[in-house]
């Protein structure tokens, strides 16, 4: 019931329309569509209105999305592209909410509309339309231009938190609206208010509305949802029921404010919120305080930091639903409202009582029960956070759920038809490990905490305590964003020129963008196609400036800077800015795993790690980067193109320093203390999340999750030790094929049973140790000093595992 996204979608898109703008005499109309068979008169009638929601001047390329809602309350997304050079607007209707993918698709279409061969567009649309959708995380690709070019996107994975800057909507929202206003809107949505967003820019408008909805995940706005409201539907603003409507500034001007009644208005251009309510202050204070705190830490907000901060707030608010679940063998799992309220802190109870009556909460509970009753278990990001938040409950719950599921299985009911296929691999791992092991770690942690307190080296302490929990993914992502901004400042002309260079430079590159076979994965066909189409100008996209602003204004991120500053080759980035390095365009958004050791990250500008930055935001998915397939990166390729560590040592202050070489340069890299995400690691073991301490205080909350950083502290800041910190949990880490973590093996409890799955899971979270291991190995073969300590770390981590027994 709850979901408004359609399932079992057959086609990438439902219909493509080209829409002619309105004239004083005539309304906007569809001049052509594909396929002709698409015939939903209501929808087709609406498309022109949404494509030209009001009379506007177009000076830059605008991408925006609108949403149509059918009678079953399912959404159809319309993605729209306005090009000042084009007479018409391009619109794609689809059931899939893959924003980045469709903007890219539209760009591709725009290029093809200029194609000298007029059949190109039709053929392309036909091929895309008829191509079956791949499973989540896999590539959807279609060749076109007589097989010369390729359009490829990665199907987003489930349960992915939007991250900055990959997720265009969130990036826009975060850029336009400050944290306190985001919180106001968040609170207003939880109270199901009538909410208006307004902006002069359609791109910003639709992105903010979409993103505001993303941020209340795992809840989903159940009411009227119109990211862009056309002038013709202005009366919708008088609706007495809750709504979230993006109203273009021009349209809002036409409404009498007093007709609308009580409404929350966010002006995304001015960054102001007007509200007659006091919803934010009516949320439980502890939730607000920790949310504020997390959002204040700007450096932690890249990656999925923003999404996660709000997710945590929701965990605090409603994660307790788990304690009110009722498991009765042989029956469906049910939810007990009273138990839910009673189990919550007294301070939260008034709000929660209120919450029970909200549509979004009811939807949430129903969806969770459905997940459980299907045997899917607790597998999404919300549950992972909830586990982290309250470990005790989690393990008890999992035990209960396990018993319940096994009963269900024994009874041979057809209850879970596809449990085995569907269940998150992590589900299969044993609860017992956590329960038994948890205690050991807990005491170990206590000891550690006291040690940390004594530790005068506050710099490191802070790093370990603050960053890992708050911005697990941001640390690795940040440099990405930074560099990306450089890239986008490059004017169009440069782009074009470089695109052409790109072509000519192919021959010398190990992975030529034009020979897709040699490309491991390349969803960037579009870019290739662009470069294949000299003469087609790729104009400046408005968002780029926005992003640049964002990155400049908001990226005072010490951890990032620290890892960047010492890097001489940062200058290389400036010169060979993304757009001028053709290879980058050839690479898909399966960026280097966020866990990448900074050095690797920084010094693989020609490899997978950086392509993220180098693509237009359209190309980047919010999904965690998919590591390159193993087969693709042969040793040759690796040494041929990527950077590798050739030596190492220590700087005068003891920080490890590495020499990293690529084809053209050798750079000295100083590594910052590890800010590696414990979350990542935990995700990889999603089922066995350990919450060692039950306090809800965010201060305590953080370090607890970062046992890997603990390890590294113990190692006294050995950068690569951070990677080691993951050993116990990343069982399939190929890096350790050489010395098997035996403690783990013995301790197995089924965790290692299915290493394939583990590996997949790791990949899902963007961890591919295959890739790392190569760089490690290469480093090692080059007599790489810092590996001594690495080994030491390893020993210690093993010993930690011994404790688990």
């Amino acid at each position: 019931m709850g979901s408004r996204i359609r399932e079992n979608v057959k086609h990438f898109f439902e219909c493509f329309c080209e829409v002619v703008p309105p004239t004083p005499e005539k309304e906007a109309w569809i001049i052509q569509q594909y396929p002709d068979t698409y015939n939903d008169p209501e929808v087709l009638k609406s498309v022109p209105k949404f494509a030209y929601p009001y009379k506007f001047e177009n000076t830059v390329i605008q991408h925006y999305s609108f949403v149509l809602t059918n009678i079953e309350s399912k959404w159809t997304f319309g993605f729209c592209r306005h090009d000042p050079k084009s007479e018409t607007a391009l619109v794609v209707l689809t059931y899939l909410p893959w924003h980045q993918a469709f903007y890219k698709f539209l760009d591709n279409i725009a290029v093809l509309t200029q194609s000298p061969r007029s059949e190109d567009l039709g053929e392309f649309l036909k091929d895309v339309y008829n191509k079956a959708l791949p499973p989540p995380g896999k590539l959807f690709e279609v060749t076109f231009n007589m097989g010369e070019s390729r359009f490829a996107i990665e199907r987003p994975k489930q349960f992915q938190l939007p991250s900055i800057p990959e997720n265009r909507n969130l990036t826009e929202y975060y850029n336009a609206v400050d944290a306190s206003n985001m919180m106001l809107i968040f609170a207003s949505m939880l109270y199901e208010r009538r909410i208006i967003f307004t902006s002069k820019k359609l791109t910003r408008l639709s992105a903010c509305v979409q993103s505001a909805n993303d941020i209340i995940y795992p809840m989903l706005w159940q009411h009227i949802f119109i990211p862009v409201l056309p002038m013709a539907l202005i009366d919708c603003l008088l609706a007495p029921m809750p709504f979230l409507i993006g109203v273009p500034d021009e349209v809002l001007k036409k409404v009498h404010r007093h007709d609308i009644g009580d409404v929350v208005i966010l002006d995304a251009d001015a960054n102001t919120v007007e509200t007659p309510f006091d919803d934010l202050n009516n949320l439980p204070q502890d939730v607000i305080n920790s949310l504020k705190k997390q959002l204040k830490n700007r450096s932690a907000l890249l990656g999925d930091g923003v999404s996660r901060a709000f997710l945590r707030a929701l965990v605090q608010l409603i994660g307790g639903y788990r304690e009110a679940l009722h498991f009765q063998p042989g029956e469906k799992v049910t939810f007990d409202k009273d138990k839910f309220i009673d189990s919550r802190p007294v301070t939260s109870q008034p709000f929660l009582k209120q919450m029970l009556h909200l549509q979004i909460f009811q939807q949430f509970i129903e969806e969770r029960l459905e997940m459980l009753n299907l045997g899917l278990g607790f597998s999404d990001e919300f549950e992972i956070e909830a586990c982290r938040y309250s470990e005790k409950t989690s393990s008890r719950l999992k035990q209960q759920y396990r018993e319940w599921t096994s009963t269900m299985k024994k009874e041979g009911t057809a209850f879970f038809k596809s449990v085995k296929e569907k269940a998150n691999p992590a589900m299969k791992s044993a609860v017992k490990t956590v329960k038994d092991g948890g205690k050991g770690v807990k005491s170990a942690y206590k000891g550690l905490r006291s040690k940390l307190k004594e530790n005068p080296n506050s710099q490191q302490l802070q790093n370990g305590l603050d960053s890992p929990s708050d911005k697990p993914r941001s640390a690795p992502n940040s440099p990405t964003g930074k560099r990306r901004s450089l890239g986008f400042s490059v004017p169009t002309a440069t782009y074009r020129k470089d695109s052409l260079n790109f072509k000519s430079s192919n021959s010398e590159r190990p992975y030529s963008p034009l020979t897709p076979i040699s490309q491991p994965l390349s969803p960037d066909a579009l870019d290739r196609s662009r470069s294949n189409t000299p003469g087609i100008d790729i104009p400046r996209i408005d968002l780029m400036t926005e992003m640049q602003d964002l990155l400049q204004l908001r990226l005072e991120t010490p951890p990032v800077d620290r890892s960047l500053k010492p890097v001489r080759s940062l200058e290389n980035f400036k010169h060979t800015s993304p757009l001028s390095s053709p290879e980058h365009w050839a690479f898909p958004s399966r960026s280097g795993a966020p866990l990448t050791v900074p050095a690797t990250k920084l010094f693989l500008p020609k490899s997978q790690d950086t392509q993220n930055l180098l693509q237009s935001p359209d190309d980047v998915f919010s999904s965690p980067p998919v590591p390159p397939p193993r087969a693709s990166s042969t040793e040759n390729e690796f040494f041929g193109s990527a950077s590798f560590v050739v030596g190492g040592g220590r700087s005068e202050n003891g920080d490890p320093v590495f020499l990293v070489a690529n084809r053209h340069t050798v750079d000295v890299v100083k590594l910052s203390p590890p800010t590696i995400s414990p979350r990542r690691k935990k995700d990889s073991m999603a089922e066995d999340l350990i919450r060692l301490d039950s306090t809800s205080d965010i201060d305590d909350f953080d370090p607890l999750k970062s046992d890997d950083s603990k390890n590294s502290f113990l190692q006294n800041s050995l950068e690569f030790s951070a990677t080691d910190g993951h050993v116990p949990l990343c069982l399939s880490n190929p890096l350790y094929n050489y010395h098997e973590p035996q403690g783990v093996q013995q301790n197995g409890n089924g965790i290692t049973k299915d290493t394939k799955n583990d590996h997949d899971l790791l990949q899902e979270y963007g961890l591919d140790f295959n890739h790392f291991s190569r760089s490690f190995i290469s480093g090692r073969s080059a007599n790489f000093d810092p590996f001594q300590p690495t080994n030491a770390t390893k020993v210690s981590s093993q010993s930690q595992w011994t404790k688990f027994e």
Partner: protein, 203 residues
């Protein structure tokens, strides 16, 4: 938006298939905007009528699929002036659900909201709920009652005109739960009471 003296918001609720949409369509036939419900998730009709020489704009909001909710919660009723609860006289289950609907309405809607019970589809031969049963139910719950046929246009005009007149009377006696201009107390438990003039500008 054109001029009008009064603006009243009317919300229709009731099980799926009882003919809510048809009812509204019949009343506003051919008027703006036809059938947006199919595309934006809410169906609303606007009709301006004249009551006692005053222009009254009736906005009739159809749930357009909100029946998917097992129950519609407070936010849905928050700012309606009148609620029309519809059942199908040829379908017992739609009548049996009325107490559930009513419970929600009583819990969430303003106590002053005008409530009308409508038995629709009186053109059908296979009546299951006698008129008197409907009347009785309405009387017990302090609601107006009317039987209609959207198909035959029977009592439809009367229904909405009655609502317009009643609301206007309420408005004149200042007894109307007003959501516009001056926001007064809404019985929702947490609804803040405020005046739109004092919108706090929070930045």
């Amino acid at each position: 938006m054109e001029d009008f003296k009064f603006l009243f918001k009317v919300v229709l609720v009731g099980n799926a298939g009882v003919g809510k949409t048809c009812l509204v369509r019949r009343f506003t036939q051919g008027l703006f905007p036809p059938g947006q419900g199919a595309t934006i998730g809410v169906d609303f009709m606007i009709k301006t009528v004249e009551v006692e020489n005053e222009k009254v704009k009736l906005q009739i909001w159809d749930t357009a699929g909100q029946e998917r909710f097992r129950s519609i919660t407070q936010s849905y009723y928050r700012s309606a002036h009148a609620l029309i609860l519809v059942y199908d006289i040829s379908c017992q289950p739609t009548f049996d659900c009325l107490p559930d609907w009513l419970r929600e309405i009583e819990e969430y809607a303003s106590s002053k909201v005008l409530r009308i019970l409508v038995g629709n589809k009186i053109d059908r031969e296979d009546r299951e709920i006698p008129t008197v049963v409907g009347e009785d139910f309405a009387a017990r719950h302090n609601m107006y009652f009317l039987e209609t046929s959207a198909k035959e246009a029977e009592n439809v005009e009367k229904l909405f005109m009655k609502i317009a007149e009643d609301l206007m009377q309420q408005a004149r006696s200042k007894d109307l739960p007003r959501y516009d201009s001056i926001t007064t107390n809404i019985s929702g438990r947490t609804s803040s009471i405020s005046d739109s003039n004092c919108c706090s500008k929070l930045t």
